[in-house]
């Protein structure tokens, strides 16, 4: 060994380093934890409390804190050893169970000789452990991320792995019956038991059997919510009532691979967190009512958007949607589900769709198409899974997905060109090629690109000097998306017209085989294609309105930046970044994600630079130009605001309303979609107001020194969209 070299496995990197422990280091060695005398003396076989009343008070205090600790663990993103496993009764029970695992609870019952402990408290403990087991199952599915979303470190203890839910149910039911029959003042404890009794039922929401096709039983969630609402009136019991019953001691007594941590106390909000958990689980279960692929897509897009959902609901959603039996919600095969997405957007009524219907299953066309559907499924499911991630991972997920969408687009375009060579072709009004599959992939890719860019504003990833390039790029992407949607809309309108025209042709044709053939085709199209095409027309119209609004909002931000730049109040160059790097490198690093995307091509650095120059206002007639620029922005904003008003109206009225020109697909996420678009409406107002403010402050005289009087700050107006922070002016102090 060379002097001063360190001993480590070649695969060890910094991650292992930062997770390494150190003996005799107070911050890193949990064997050095100092326990209080009460903690050391605590004995799980003693029925604490002198009188029965005191025993009830003690057991209630432990049960309340244990119940709260589950939400401290999950909603507070804490570890198991500092929450649930810090309960001495939990530690005692699962240690004994780990030593002697069985299908019953014989090895983990408390044995104090008092039924409040041996029956009731045991129920609370095993109910809690059973729920931990359920959460561990979700965790192992790998949907959410270790540590940042969920810590399932059970310290090697067996969380009742072999005990069936029926055994736990029966035990808990006996405890509830005992309390109701023999303890008059145990209302709070009964509620806690009932809450936990409903909590164990979560396991049954995990789809695993054929009968899971049945609508989920929501009653346990509703009952749990009711219990939690009632328990909210009780303040957390003072810790001294059950001193020693909660302790960090498990970290000292068992093998611990983590640094010692204090146990986490209740913040008092835990029962509210239970209510939120139930609300979020109910929302996830609602996806089962989706009537179409576009409704499922919109559900996923909105359900976790305006508020990050409870981690259990987020982990549960993809598993509930995309099941182990290779179905979506037990209703569709993966391939059929993907095909539904295409039919709901651009494939319906096309020659390709009709050829696919007519071709035999073993034909080259169907086989090749199915191969592509498998590819689509892989990426589409990644998209779905991403919608359930925490707010930061959500953006990162897109970073990876964009390459996949881009690669799929290139492949599927080649496939469609091959089909065209074989005569399977769909044309737009101007006879140009439509390519329904490529169009959908391009739509999904552009949506993901735009969301990736705008999410960066919400996460505060961009500094104000970057606002121009990011909003200009968002505007550029929105333009491409707008074109894609307009093409699609035009194509759908053409199809609808051509079907209706069949009827006119029929009237002109003489009776005969030709007429009968056309009549059959017309009837088939009216029955099968027209309803879907009409729905698609409305969905694409809605998508177009939304896209136009995003485009105008982005453009307005570009204008406002340019006005500020023209007045010398902001620059699009990084401050002081020239010693080790260059503005061009920094720009290229920022746009690295997009540099490899084939279509739309990333404009060069020079194009970004030039476009800012184009927007910049200069003398002569600065004031007049400024007024014109801001007036233009205002009128664009007002026009786009009307589109969002239409969308909000459609959300309120509901998608089933036949008179509506749009279909938002948000029936199952009305509240969330409404919040999202209402925030956009407030952003329109905020940008109009900001434009007026800029004009008032900078428009009257351009004396060359606005920087002496004002500075730029990032403002996030109340209730406005987090995707569009506003660059506002504040007076210098």
């Amino acid at each position: 060994m060379k002097p001063e070299s360190i001993i480590k496995d070649p695969s060890f990197d910094l991650f292992e380093g930062t997770h390494s422990l150190e003996i005799d280091n107070l911050k890193l060695d949990s064997s050095l934890l100092e326990l209080s005398p009460e903690e050391k003396r605590f004995d799980c076989s003693t029925p604490y409390g002198g009188s029965e009343e005191e025993k009830l008070k003690f057991v209630t205090a432990v049960a309340d804190r244990l119940c709260r600790s589950i939400m401290v663990w999950l909603a507070g993103f804490q570890t198991l050893p500092t929450t649930v496993l810090s309960c001495r009764y939990v530690e005692d029970a699962v240690r004994r169970y780990t030593d002697d695992p069985s299908t019953d609870l014989s090895s983990c019952l408390l044995q104090t000789g008092n039924p409040l402990f041996d029956q009731v408290l045991t129920s609370c403990v095993v109910g809690s452990c059973f729920f931990v087991k359920f959460v561990s199952t979700l965790f192992k599915a790998g949907v959410v991320f270790e540590e940042e979303d969920l810590n399932c470190n059970t310290m090697g203890l067996n969380m009742l792995s072999m005990v069936p839910i029926t055994t736990i149910r029966e035990h808990m039911d006996r405890s509830i019956a005992l309390l109701e029959a023999e303890y008059k003042h145990a209302d709070q404890l009964v509620l806690i038991l009932k809450l936990l009794r409903n909590l164990i039922e979560f396991q049954d929401y995990l789809p695993s059997k054929a009968e899971d096709l049945a609508a989920p039983n929501k009653q346990p969630l509703l009952d749990l919510m009711q219990c939690a609402q009632k328990l909210k009136v009780y303040a957390p019991v003072a810790p001294e009532v059950c001193t020693g019953a909660f302790s960090p001691g498990i970290q000292k007594r068992l093998s611990n691979q983590f640094p010692p941590r204090d146990i986490v106390e209740s913040a008092g909000e835990e029962y509210e967190a239970y209510v939120e958990l139930c609300v979020d689980m109910l929302k996830v279960l609602a996806v089962t009512s989706a009537r179409s692929a576009s409704e499922t897509l919109q559900f996923a897009f909105f359900f976790n958007r305006t508020r990050q959902r409870h981690v259990v609901a987020r982990a549960f959603f993809p598993l509930y949607l995309m099941r182990d039996d290779q179905t979506v919600l037990g209703k569709y095969t993966f391939n059929d589900f993907s095909k539904e997405h295409l039919l709901d957007f651009s494939l319906c009524g096309t020659n390709l769709a009709h050829e696919l219907l007519d071709a035999p299953e073993n034909s080259a066309l169907v086989q090749k198409f199915n191969e592509f559907m498998q590819e689509v499924s892989g990426i589409l499911f990644e998209w779905y899974q991403n919608t359930a991630q925490n707010r930061c991972r959500y953006r990162q997920g897109y970073n990876r997905q964009l390459l996949l969408w881009d690669s799929l687009q290139a492949q599927i375009e080649t496939f469609e060109l091959e089909l065209e060579a074989q005569g399977i072709k769909d044309e737009l009004q101007d006879s140009s090629s439509f390519m329904p599959l490529t169009t959908w992939v391009f739509y999904m890719k552009l949506r993901a690109m735009l969301d990736f860019v705008l999410k960066g504003f919400e996460l505060d990833v961009y500094k104000p000097w970057e606002f121009f390039s990011m909003f200009w790029y968002a505007y550029y992407l929105a333009q491409h998306l707008e074109n894609c949607l307009q093409r699609t809309l035009g194509f759908i309108e053409k199809l609808i017209t051509s079907i209706h025209n069949m009827n006119k042709k029929l009237k002109k044709l003489k009776a005969g085989e030709k007429k009968e053939k056309l009549r059959a085709k017309y009837r088939w199209s009216m029955e099968n294609d027209i309803p879907q095409l009409n729905a698609n027309l409305k969905f694409v119209t809605y998508s177009l309105m939304e896209c136009t609004a995003v485009k105008v909002l982005s453009l307005s931000q570009v204008f406002h930046f340019a006005v500020l730049q023209s007045s010398g109040l902001i620059d699009s160059k990084p401050p002081g970044g020239n010693k080790f790097t260059s503005p061009e490198f920094i720009h290229k690093l920022r746009f690295k994600t997009f540099a490899s995307i084939g279509v739309p091509e990333l404009p060069s650095y020079q194009v970004f630079e030039n476009s800012l120059k184009d927007f910049t206002i200069a003398e002569p007639m600065f004031t007049a130009k400024l007024a014109r620029s801001l007036a233009f922005t205002k009128s664009e904003l007002e026009g786009a605001k009307a589109a969002i008003d239409t969308i909000v109206h459609a959300i309120h009225v509901g998608d089933g309303e036949p008179n509506l020109s749009v279909n938002t697909g948000t029936r199952l996420v009305k509240e969330q979609a409404d919040a999202h678009y209402s925030a956009l409406l407030r952003t329109f107002e905020a940008l109009v107001a900001n434009g007026q403010s800029l004009q008032a402050k900078l428009g009257s005289v351009k004396d060359g020194s606005p920087a002496a009087r004002y500075h730029v700050n990032v403002s996030r107006p109340d209730g406005a969209s987090s995707y569009f922070p506003v660059l506002a002016l504040s007076e210098n102090q």
Binding site: I6, D13, E148
Partner: protein, 174 residues
């Protein structure tokens, strides 16, 4: 009061203790001796100390490393930076970071990376003033529950190219 900057003397055990003292006083993450040894023994040339004329012991330090990132580019990493409370607001941290970046640039790093807490505006101001940009935000990255930003300073064109494309045979990192 003059401040001098010098690289770590790995043979001087006292210097390691002082680095631990400076870092432990400030950072929310508890680091084991392994972490310090991991950095200092492998990349001693990327640890710089700041000494003040009025005291014998170092008053600031920066600890870095560099490695090939995903087989595609050479990435420098600023692992720890700390300045004694009494010696702050004198540009010591900036100077230490500049020395480290300069060294990593000489070594041939394509980029420098680090993480910092979203709430640590002082650190963000320091690094962003040097050209670092926020590449991504990481949810609950630190033990104190706070989010972090991953910051990168691009030094060469390779930093601006996706790894997938750098790994293609004709461009793979030698």
């Amino acid at each position: 009061m003059g401040i001098r900057y010098q690289p770590l003397n790995i043979s001087n055990a006292n210097e390691l203790k002082h680095i631990q003292r400076l870092i432990d006083a400030d950072l929310s993450e508890p680091y084991s001796i392994y972490v310090y040894r991991y950095f200092l023994n492998q990349w001693p040339e990327l640890c710089f100390l700041a000494f003040s004329n009025d005291t014998e012991n170092p008053v600031g330090c920066v600890v870095c490393k560099y490695e090939t990132h995903r087989g595609a580019r050479l990435r420098g990493y600023i692992g720890m930076l700390a300045v004694d409370q009494k010696y702050r607001r004198r540009g010591i941290a900036k100077k230490l970071v500049e020395q480290a970046i300069q060294k990593m640039q000489e070594i041939g790093c394509d980029e420098i990376m680090l993480e910092t807490e979203v709430e640590n505006t002082t650190a963000l101001q320091l690094y962003e003033g040097m050209g670092f940009i926020r590449l991504k935000r990481m949810f609950r990255y630190y033990l104190n529950q706070g989010d972090a930003f991953k910051l990168i300073l691009p030094l060469t064109e390779r930093s601006c190219t996706r790894t997938t494309f750098l790994l293609q045979p004709e461009t793979a990192f030698a």
